[in-house]
Symmetry: C2
Subunit: 224 residues, 2 copies
């Protein structure tokens, strides 16, 4: 019984629980999270919840206003652009410098297969998850623990922005084939080509997200 993930700290377990709720879009961006209410509904103490809040704030999933508590982060267009800037830098470099026999290659392959299956079954959340897994596998090519965790946080934050846009098919479907093509280039050893392809891909994806986001802001602006 030496599982470290099993009976971690209560605060850590709560952190994970909140994180998954956040990236699943269970709460509206901007929504305030009351310490008292949440701690009661989770049946934990306020102190424990505060520890979890602090971590998630550092990860960018929550925002903290002094003396006003925490609320769900509402990704701005600037933050989306920032996230994509980092993604391009890290992912393209990882792909360009990788050696084709790297173990992460099988993870890329699995992700592509999962995405194809998901598309066939029109299970768009599954396609989205497979897409995330594909990009994590790309970063894993760089063999860096720190890069992996940083990238995980980055994707979580981006997922918060995705949560704002309620059209998973539109957002994820186009990239299934691009991932497959990317994997083919990579397995063929055409690293530079693959990396450039990934770069264009990410520029394109960023543009789509930003456009959808701007549209949503406009709608909200009309309403408000």
């Amino acid at each position: 019984m030496s599982r470290t993930t099993d009976t971690q700290n209560l605060a850590d377990r709560v952190t994970e629980e909140l994180r998954s709720k956040l990236i699943a879009g269970d709460w509206e961006p901007g929504q305030r999270l009351s310490e008292a209410a949440l701690s009661e509904s989770l049946a934990i103490s306020r102190n424990t919840l505060r520890e979890a809040f602090r971590l998630l704030t550092k990860e960018g999933l929550l925002v903290h206003e002094p003396n006003k508590g925490v609320s769900v982060a509402a990704p701005s267009m600037a933050s989306i652009m920032d996230i994509y800037r980092v993604r391009r830098m890290i992912e393209c470099q990882a792909l360009a410098q990788a050696y084709p026999m790297h173990p992460a290659r099988s993870a890329m392959r699995t992700a592509v297969e999962d995405a194809l299956r998901g598309r066939e079954e029109r299970d768009w959340p599954a396609v989205g998850s497979a897409n995330m897994a594909f990009h994590k596998a790309v970063v894993a090519l760089a063999d860096s623990e720190r890069l992996d965790t940083m990238f995980t946080h980055l994707l979580a934050e981006l997922r918060l922005a995705f949560g704002l846009l309620r059209d998973p098919e539109f957002l994820h479907a186009p990239y299934v084939d691009m991932n497959a093509k990317l994997l083919a280039l990579f397995e063929a050893g055409k690293l530079t080509e693959a990396s450039n392809s990934l770069h264009d891909y990410l520029v394109h994806s960023e543009r789509i997200i930003l456009a959808a986001y701007a549209r949503r802001l406009a709608e909200q602006g009309v309403r408000a």
Copy 2:
């Protein structure tokens, strides 16, 4: 009185205080930090200290063992290699893609001048700080808030490893001229050359650190 950095949370202020003590090498790596003792000596409650601990653990400066509390991180050779792997990826890319008139250029120039002055006065801690500032400026060329904060954490962790090696002249002096040369290349618009130069630089630096670290481990091994 609307300074946000002035009267932040107590926990945040404590976090900063602990962080600067950690990178200054005030505590031995591996040393246990008792909640009760530290909270008393800092005149804060245990709960507040625990929040600070949690953040610093996430930054890699402290390590947490369940039911055994936190202790100062003792960077391993593997973590040093990991840090340098990330540094090469981020810094070289930032330099290669930067446009020469970027505002961060002046920060690079200031850092070089500070380092030159520090070397003249044989103020090695100052040289070390200037060196850190130079590399932060390089990363700032990429114009990414997230990259900047990630890199700051990375350098803090590396500084913990430097703290283990008590020979600042040996560690920092050789890089003053390399930084100056790098800046010259950058200002001349020779981006590829500058980036390659930086890459070799970082490989060299990593080797020096690892060698010094291994030497120190050997000494300790004999002693223990």
